[in-house]
């Protein structure tokens, strides 16, 4: 597995940790935030927090698209699933997310046609093969996934596969990062920026964070060495009183990003305000289908959706914006567990709370 194994080398990890400790030694309390569910997952999976010096805290931000998908979207997906003749295709991540009263997993148990796919292309193939079914693909994801959704939709449109549609919940990360700094009482020393989102958008979108807020930004990959290197670069910026956008993940991220992917996005999506579960509305942070593609927009399918309900006591919003840790939530590990998730943070394996529950209890013991 080339270009994976080499970035998991334990000797190199040890060296990076030692350098981190050296730089961290002269710094006070430092809070860094990562805004990507895959970063959350990787940090927990490799036990990275355990290796960092105690004055360096890594906060998890709203970087899990599953976690920030509002109840209303799930409720609509479930309502569509219940319509006769509708097939829902989705990434596996969405299956256990609780809506107001049910989940896709439960609806599948009740007999709704819900299929898990790895790629929107697989969903498109199902639509082409089963023309008598109305195929609705749940378009959840950030800028890493949105181009794939867009490209698939363009193919469906070109090939006139009329029964293929997307229910878009695609979101943009930089506006969310801005929103975190605007309102919250966060004192962040740096952002660990999402490597694959940046593969698409490049490094420029983070410059306003540096220029307006003076927050160091390092774009990091997901292997343990990538994460450790990203953390090291952030600490070096802090130590040297710099605030820049730097690319640590140079093998996959170019400053200009992926121009073709960005063009494909513009052919399909338009930016609009979007609701982030637990946080609220963030201006210009969502992607909706252009009206030219309304034949494939599942939001235009007539369906009655139940009124949205939120869970009392759930502080997912505060956890997602890094203001509270899972351990500070009253429901955590009691009513709210990976088995019985009350909020989005617990559902996705990368959700901050799920990751903390599964992997983080060792930290409590320290």
């Amino acid at each position: 597995m080339r270009f994976l194994r080499e970035f998991r080398n334990p000797q190199a990890a040890e060296v990076l940790v030692r350098r981190i400790r050296k730089v961290a030694d002269s710094l006070g309390e430092i809070s860094l935030m990562e805004v990507c569910g895959t970063h959350t997952m990787s940090i927990y999976r490799y036990g990275i927090r355990h290796l960092l010096p105690p004055n360096i805290r890594i906060l998890s931000g709203p970087g899990c698209p599953v976690c920030v998908t509002p109840n209303a979207f799930l409720d609509r997906a479930i309502a569509l699933a219940r319509l006769p003749g509708v097939t829902i295709a989705t990434f596996g991540d969405m299956m256990r997310v609780p809506g107001s009263t049910s989940s896709l997993e439960r609806e599948q148990a009740r007999g709704c046609d819900i299929r898990v796919v790895y790629s929107p292309i697989d969903a498109f193939r199902i639509a082409a093969q089963e023309q008598h079914r109305r195929l609705v693909f749940l378009g959840v994801g950030f800028e890493t996934t949105a181009p794939a959704l867009a490209a698939t939709l363009l193919e469906a449109s070109r090939d006139e596969v009329k029964n293929f549609s997307i229910l878009s919940a695609a979101k943009l990360i930089p506006p969310a990062m801005q929103a975190l700094l605007k309102d919250g009482p966060l004192r962040l020393s740096g952002f660990l920026c999402p490597g694959h989102v940046s593969t698409i958008i490049g490094s420029r979108p983070y410059e306003s964070l540096v220029n307006e807020h003076g927050i160091p930004c390092v774009i990091a990959g997901f292997e343990p060495l990538d994460i450790l290197y990203g953390i090291l670069m952030l600490l070096e910026q802090v130590s040297e009183h710099r605030a820049e956008v730097e690319i640590a993940y140079r093998r996959a991220v170019r400053p200009e990003g992926n121009p073709k992917a960005k063009r494909v996005l513009k052919e399909v999506f338009i930016e609009r305000d979007a609701q982030w579960r637990g946080i609220g509305v963030i201006e210009g942070s969502g992607l909706a289908l252009l009206s030219t593609l309304e034949a494939h927009d599942a939001f235009l399918i007539e369906v009655e959706v139940e009124p949205t309900r939120e869970v009392p006591g759930c502080i997912c919003g505060l956890v997602l914006s890094g203001q509270r840790t899972p351990f500070e939530c009253d429901l955590f590990a009691r009513e709210c567990t990976p088995e019985t998730p009350q909020g989005a943070c617990m559902v996705s394996a990368e959700g901050t709370c799920a990751a903390a529950y599964r992997y983080g209890r060792i930290e409590e013991e320290r």
Binding site: L4, L16, T38, P120, A148, H196, I200, R250, R251, K260
Partner: protein, 76 residues
């Protein structure tokens, strides 16, 4: 939301490619990239190649880590 893996391109037919990681093969779309060649490594997310992996940069990054290792003596 960033789960993507480096895969080697083994065959190309317009926008359709076959890619491999370890010994797992999967059909991958190249519609988000302008020019890809057989033998190159691409980053694959949800069935789409989203970038060509820059092998030179990869080597340089690994070399940097190796250089750090050499600095250990100096760190004291």
């Amino acid at each position: 939301m960033c789960l993507a893996v480096p895969m080697k391109v083994t065959s190309i037919d317009n926008d359709h490619a076959t890619c491999i990681i370890g010994d797992v093969e999967r059909k991958v779309r190249l519609s988000l990239l302008s020019e890809v060649h057989v033998g190159e490594y691409v980053i694959v997310h949800a069935g789409y190649a989203i970038q060509i992996l820059d092998e030179e940069e990869a080597r340089e990054t690994l070399q940097l880590f190796a250089d750090f290792q050499g600095d250990i003596g100096e760190m004291g």
